[in-house]
Symmetry: C2
Subunit: 512 residues, 2 copies
Amino acid sequence: MDVDIDTTHSQVVSITLFVAVLCLCLVIGHLLNENRWVNESITAIIIGCVVGTIILCVSKWKSSRFLRFDEQLFFIYLLPPIIFNAGFQVKKKHFFQNFFPIMLFGVTGVFISTSIVAAGCRLLFPKIGLKGLTVSEYLSLGTIFSSTDTVCTLQVLHQDETPLLYSLVFGEGVVNDATSVVLFNAVQKINANTLGGKAALDIFLDFLYLFSTSTILGVTAGLLTSYILRGLGFGRHSSVREIALMILIAYLSYMLAELFELSGILTVFFAGVLMSHYAWHNVTESSRITTRHTFAAMSFIAETFIFLYVGMDALDYEQWRMSMLSFWASLGLYSTVMVSILVGRAAFVFPLAIIANYMHRGGDASSKITAKHQVVIWWAGLMRGAVSVALAFKQFTLSGVTMDPIDATMITTTIVVVLFSTIVFGFLTKPLISYLLPPNTSNIDRARSLKEDMTLPLLSFEESASENLSRAKENISMLIERPVHTIHSYWRRFDDTYMRPIFGGPHSTALP
Amino acid sequence: MDVDIDTTHSQVVSITLFVAVLCLCLVIGHLLNENRWVNESITAIIIGCVVGTIILCVSKWKSSRFLRFDEQLFFIYLLPPIIFNAGFQVKKKHFFQNFFPIMLFGVTGVFISTSIVAAGCRLLFPKIGLKGLTVSEYLSLGTIFSSTDTVCTLQVLHQDETPLLYSLVFGEGVVNDATSVVLFNAVQKINANTLGGKAALDIFLDFLYLFSTSTILGVTAGLLTSYILRGLGFGRHSSVREIALMILIAYLSYMLAELFELSGILTVFFAGVLMSHYAWHNVTESSRITTRHTFAAMSFIAETFIFLYVGMDALDYEQWRMSMLSFWASLGLYSTVMVSILVGRAAFVFPLAIIANYMHRGGDASSKITAKHQVVIWWAGLMRGAVSVALAFKQFTLSGVTMDPIDATMITTTIVVVLFSTIVFGFLTKPLISYLLPPNTSNIDRARSLKEDMTLPLLSFEESASENLSRAKENISMLIERPVHTIHSYWRRFDDTYMRPIFGGPHSTALP
């Protein structure tokens, strides 16, 4: 392994080995697919660990990886396709139907969880013997350990059997990613060692600013793409240009957001949502099939890449040697973080579910979040993933390198929490959900084909369009009684009358 | 433009601007598409020049580009998708039917052209006042200016009207790229200042070794993918994995070839050919549509990226200042190279066409390369493109930077030749071909739908399969009389009997 002789050559070696391991992951992941206990993430992490061990042996305890973890690589190249695909593939019908509870869990939840994790660490870390972290660093730790990874749970849930639960878990996962990154960036700006009401208000206002501007940018990018594809009739010549344009504008919106220090995640998510709602209807049939699968494939490769990387990085010898705590103290550290995560999540899922049920009281029974569903939502958000690792590297290293023992300890803690939660909680997810929601008995009556979802409007309901419109006209008391539904129907009228004629998409009156 | 303050920030700025300009190129390219005189390459180069000028003004004559030209970027990330797509989309029927003339032009032609260009430069450069180049550098110049760019001509030719001509130009383009890169690498190893028969033999043997091993590696990668996709039944679960696997194994084969210092271009080309011949038949319907369009879109983005880059790089002020020759001497230099290219290409196209016609003498009249076709083939290969620029940067700079006046002169010469040939010859291509081959009169009788091409075997003929087989059995005199046809029919029997049952694809007896 003459990796150090020549930069160019070592780069080629790294890429070759990494791509080879990715292929291996793909094949093994496919073979293990029958076994629902083991998901892609766990496979990739374990293969990463195995490969890391081999490299560690071959390189005589010098290194366990080909590429240094670079959070730039993660934020510039790997995250955008994953989030864009999430926005593009999201079942818009259910996502927007449950928009209110999703936002409650995804936004408010992160605030609550961050506070509790930060407070827990602030309280217990000094007792274990780890001192010297600033308030800002504790808050960063809070956001780092508040970003969830719901992939594992989503692989077990069935969209057709439990549509409400699925859309809540999926939606929260996406919003949570964005919120925690935005909040992380807002927290970064706090320099003082104390935190008063003024600072808390600043964080909140900063958050609101980032959230709204990022969303507007993403929506603009999505509408612009739709308009160009519709107005200039790209499909007449080639679907290649259509596909290239969608990918490039989505990526451009992400990079613009990063450039203006907004949240690229939110931007590219909304760009994805709007492209699938409008632009997707303006392209040729083959472009529709291609974009769906291509975006999914890009996202899949990026995800596998990240988990593989986390697995390899777990064995980085230098980091472990640098972290200074004893075995028991380290164990105390990991337990503190894990317990904070469990408590922090419980502290918002159950109360917020009650609020969501209250707001939806006018809706039908199926939109109520039952106690069992609440437990599943709580569990689904316990896994920690790539975003946590990337944020930890951003906070505690300089381009993947750290020389400070405390920083090294924080990195190893993050990796242990990610590995433990993904593997242990991941393995337990399947039995837990089978126990709570026995298949084919719950909600099977609500199951229906979702194939028509892509052609349905952004905010369709169980009711037909005309029914909706007449109901919306009734009176203003509606808005108080069934606030969520009423806002939806106003939006839908607006979409039909003004947006679709300009940006594309089928007219909903043509639908059953 | 505070690009220099922070590496991370400047990286984000560069990528954002570059993606924005790429989007612009796409939209303008689409709007100009009606005008067949202006093709994608010309559009991208001109936009690159304009953007370069703007940056030059904004940065007050310091720089004309966002990213330094990195031939690593080109060879590791941009070239593989272009060549893989060429292999994947090649009309295999015509490509292999005309395999012999394509190889004559693509391989032998490069050798002849390289010798003539190198000799021309060796003879005339010292007279203009440019001294100090070694024999190895003259030979490198020969290979640099022997790699053609046939995109422009292919956009004008109509595959249905002149299938033979189209497949010759397309096929030569691909083989030429590979040959010139392989030959360039072989020439690099020559260190002596003189060139004897021994050295020439070494180059040739090295070339043969690189050519055969690279091909074998590519074929192996293609067959492996087909076998995995067929044997493990990936499609049962998701077409996402199928697509990801095809992309990753193709890229892996390219990187492996680079790692073993073979020709990645040849490897990935043959991987593409074999994947579309076997693997493509083992995947789901949506994967088939997706792979075709995705590979084309990736190739399209990479190509636009390169031409945009060449356009921007043309205005790099530093390079121009560094090159030391007077205006008239520079003009002499450019003329020398251009004339060498014209003569070097004429010197092999016309003689080799006669040989090709002789070899095909048993075939029908439509497979004869007429004089007009010869002129078109000669013209199609006059444009120089991205491969020339990348090779020039590899030879004459160190990671895109040069301090030597002679090297800087060689870089500017390459850029001038690429710009001049692409823009001037590019503009003239359409009128020339309209004059030589008036539309809808030539060969229209041969025009037929090529939609079934993907389902046809690798080496199908005008004749039906059974006819072929019976003819192949006739006797050995056939091999002498119609050598190309006979080899084809033997291969086809082999393909049907042994390859397709293992690696996938429809059985040809099921075809009409």
